[in-house]
């Protein structure tokens, strides 16, 4: 990784920070949403791209963080002022704790079975959200009483955007540190050759489990932000399609690159939310993007420069 990449990332972030407030009111919301999903997508990249664990159930942690935030805000009025900064770590903790519990079942599996078991766990959370009426409001969901205010008004979309951008940068930095640490490198080792890692004496189960828990924590964080972005939480937030979308974001952007997941998040959010305002056949585009990405862009969007380089050198 050359020195150009962090500079490029920083440049993009600065450009985003500076130009977004001038975009229309709707694009501001979309960009904020893309950033929220970028957080959870990057955490899935940690699991998938670096550890090799394809999870089809990350929406569960999003849901846990979101519902916790909504319940605290609407039922106890908690988290609407400075206490927001208490809800954030609570959300992270809830996501991580849920992952810690689910991980006990899931980490024993790998490959296809891991896919299936995470799918099932995600469906369990959906089922609870849908049926546990007294806690989650059932299919009605929970409405939040506005956005928090602590000196600054998060009700202003631009202010909220900056807050989310800040969390995104922190998440990116944190995950970057994890990935470059010895722990992160062992994860890659596990992805490549788990047997060898075990022979070398690594507790691969523990490594995978920790990665799973970390991803759950970030999912919880994304959930807290999502709850405030939308102003409501419903079982729709934790359906299978959400988990699948997050997976697509990672693969589309390029797994194992972190930044790719963020780019993927931007593309998928754009397709779902922006394209749908322009044309009625946007679902075809979405499905097409899924299929074409898988077929022709195995390295995702981030892999394009590499492919261009290889193609160029091959044709010389």
């Amino acid at each position: 990784m050359t020195m150009r990449k962090p500079a490029a990332v920083a440049a993009v972030l600065i450009a985003l920070a500076v130009t977004t407030p001038f975009a229309g009111p709707y694009p501001i919301l979309l960009i904020t949403q893309a950033l929220v999903f970028a957080i959870i997508a990057m955490s899935l990249d940690l699991l998938l791209g670096y550890t090799g664990l394809p999870s089809l159930g990350q929406a569960a942690y999003l849901g846990v963080g979101a519902y916790l935030t909504a319940i605290l805000a609407s039922r106890y009025g908690f988290g609407m002022d400075w206490t927001f900064w208490v809800v954030v770590p609570l959300g992270i903790f809830a996501g991580a704790a849920t992952a810690a519990f689910f991980g006990l079942f899931a980490i024993r599996a790998s490959g296809v079975y891991f896919l299936m078991i995470t799918l099932a766990l995600g469906m369990c959370v959906w089922g609870l959200a849908y049926r546990w009426n007294s806690l989650t409001g059932g299919d009605n969901g929970i409405n939040l009483p506005g956005r928090p205010e602590f000196g600054i008004q998060l009700a202003d979309d631009v202010t909220f955007f900056y807050l989310v951008l800040g969390f995104f940068i922190l998440s990116l930095a944190a995950l970057h540190l994890v990935v470059r640490s010895p722990f992160g490198r062992s994860l890659v080792g596990i992805r490549e050759r788990e047997l060898r890692m075990r022979v070398l004496g690594y507790n691969t189960w523990l490594h995978k489990y920790l990665a799973f828990v970390i991803a759950g924590g970030f999912g919880g964080l994304a959930g807290v932000l999502l709850a405030h972005l939308n102003g409501l939480v419903s079982p729709e937030d934790v359906i299978l399609t959400t988990s699948v979308d997050v997976l697509l974001m990672v693969v589309l952007g390029g797994s194992g690159t972190l930044v790719g997941a963020a780019i993927g998040a931007g593309v998928v959010v754009f397709l779902r939310e922006y394209l749908s305002t322009l044309v009625p056949w946007w679902q075809y585009v979405l499905g097409g993007v899924y299929v074409l990405t898988i077929l022709y862009l195995p390295g995702g969007l981030m892999g394009i420069p590499e492919r261009l380089r290889r193609w160029r050198s091959a044709t010389q």
Partner: protein
């Protein structure tokens, strides 16, 4: 076709007395046009569009710009599209939403953005009851879930039913429809002896049908969506002989064409039936059917009537947008002769209207050649408000109808 940005010029159709200053009225419409509710969404748009076309896109001199946004049936998306409609497209009014959660999601948006929201379909009781103070810019032109159930309960008593089993889809709408029926029915001497709640989306009613108590006089059901189609079939196949009465959506014209003879004789209650035998409705049904190829359901009618009510207000203001607060005041005072009958709004901005007790019959109507299934009106209760004969203050003191409210005192 679905995404419309229609700027209909008033010049097209000879408008005699329109003022020269062409005002603009921008209306945003929120409906699911993709996803599993896509057909309902299309019907909603079609209903509104029909009135627009009939009036040449001109409401009292204001040129109507009609923008449709897809909610995909998901409340968060509805919220975002509503924000787009108000902030970016600068609509004066946004209307629509299908599900109760969407109504609950859009009403706060109207308060926050100080823009008029017309809930033409969402029937969640509390939107215009216990929560009304939170939503000063929200107006409902459709119905509350329990509104038809109240007179229906009385009707059930009149039929001599004493013991009824309820089986309703287990979600808020189902709870409210059944709850309203229970309150009214038990209030005139009836007893609900059993309440069954299949989850929303149940396809196989195998677990539930055998549980229905044999000593009931009648079965009251509330089904929504595909459940409405399958439940009567499975009920009939299980050998049911008891009379079946139901909430309005169970036999609404959205599903009725796909139903078979097993539903003949089933009775339900709603503020609309395509078989209302008035010239106004006959004209509406014929026009709608010719244009869109199907008999209109209440989803279409309620949006058609909403357009009519907006038009009424704009006639009064001679096409000038009166501002959100004033618009709400004006529409609250409007009385229209709608296709469903006379409609006006009560002091909580919910319609007061006829409730029709309708029975499924196979017959010819409106000059159509074939025998088809129609919801023939067998009794009309006029001037039904959301509180029926109950005292408003007492009604509001009780909790909103839920799975456990009213409690099942006579359950065996």
């Amino acid at each position: 076709m679905l995404k419309r940005r229609m700027t209909l010029m008033g010049l097209a159709v000879g408008m005699a007395a329109t003022p020269a200053a062409a005002q603009e009225l921008r209306i945003g419409f929120l409906a699911p046009t993709t996803g599993i509710f896509a057909q309902v969404g299309k019907d909603m748009v079609s209903g509104f569009q029909l009135w627009l076309d009939e009036s040449g896109g001109n409401f009292g001199g204001a040129k109507v710009t009609f923008i449709v946004e897809d909610t995909e049936g998901k409340p968060p998306i509805a919220v975002r599209k509503a924000e787009k409609l108000v902030r970016q497209d600068k609509v004066h009014i946004f209307i629509g939403g299908l599900l109760a959660p969407t109504g609950y999601a859009l009403a706060p948006v109207s308060t926050r953005l100080k823009t008029v929201y017309i809930a033409s379909v969402p029937a969640a009781d509390d939107l215009t009851q216990r929560d009304i103070a939170k939503y000063p810019y929200t107006v409902r032109t459709g119905w509350t879930s329990s509104q038809p159930s109240h007179p229906f309960g009385e009707w059930a008593c009149e039929q001599g039913y004493k013991r009824v089993v309820t089986i309703g889809a287990d979600f808020a709408f189902g709870h409210e429809v059944v709850g309203g029926f229970q309150k009214a029915f038990e209030g005139c001497g009836g007893r609900i002896i059993q309440k069954l709640w299949p989850p929303l989306g149940t396809k196989d009613f195998g677990p539930y049908i055998p549980q229905i108590k044999q000593n009931a006089d009648a079965i009251f059901t509330l089904m929504a969506g595909p459940m409405s189609l399958q439940f009567p079939k499975q009920l009939a196949a299980a050998g049911n002989r008891k009379p079946v009465i139901a909430g309005g959506t169970s036999y609404d014209e959205f599903v009725l064409p796909s139903m078979g003879d097993e539903v003949i004789g089933h009775v339900s209650a709603l503020q609309y039936s395509a078989a209302i035998d008035t010239p106004a409705n006959a004209g509406f049904v014929k026009k709608y059917r010719e244009k869109f190829g199907k008999v209109p359901s209440y989803y279409s009618e309620t949006n058609y009537t909403s357009a009519q009510m907006i038009h009424e207000v704009m006639e009064k203001t001679r096409g000038k947008w009166p501002g959100a607060a004033q618009f709400v005041k004006l529409i609250s005072a409007v009385k229209v002769d709608a296709v469903r009958g006379p409609v006006r709004l009560d002091e909580m901005r919910n319609p007061v209207q006829n409730i029709y007790i309708k029975k499924v019959e196979k017959r010819k109507m409106f000059g159509y050649e074939k025998d088809e299934l129609w919801n023939t009106v067998i009794k009309t209760y006029p001037n039904v408000g959301q509180f029926w004969k109950f005292k408003k203050q007492e009604f509001l003191k009780q909790p909103v109808y839920s799975r456990d409210y009213p409690p099942c005192k006579f359950c065996e």
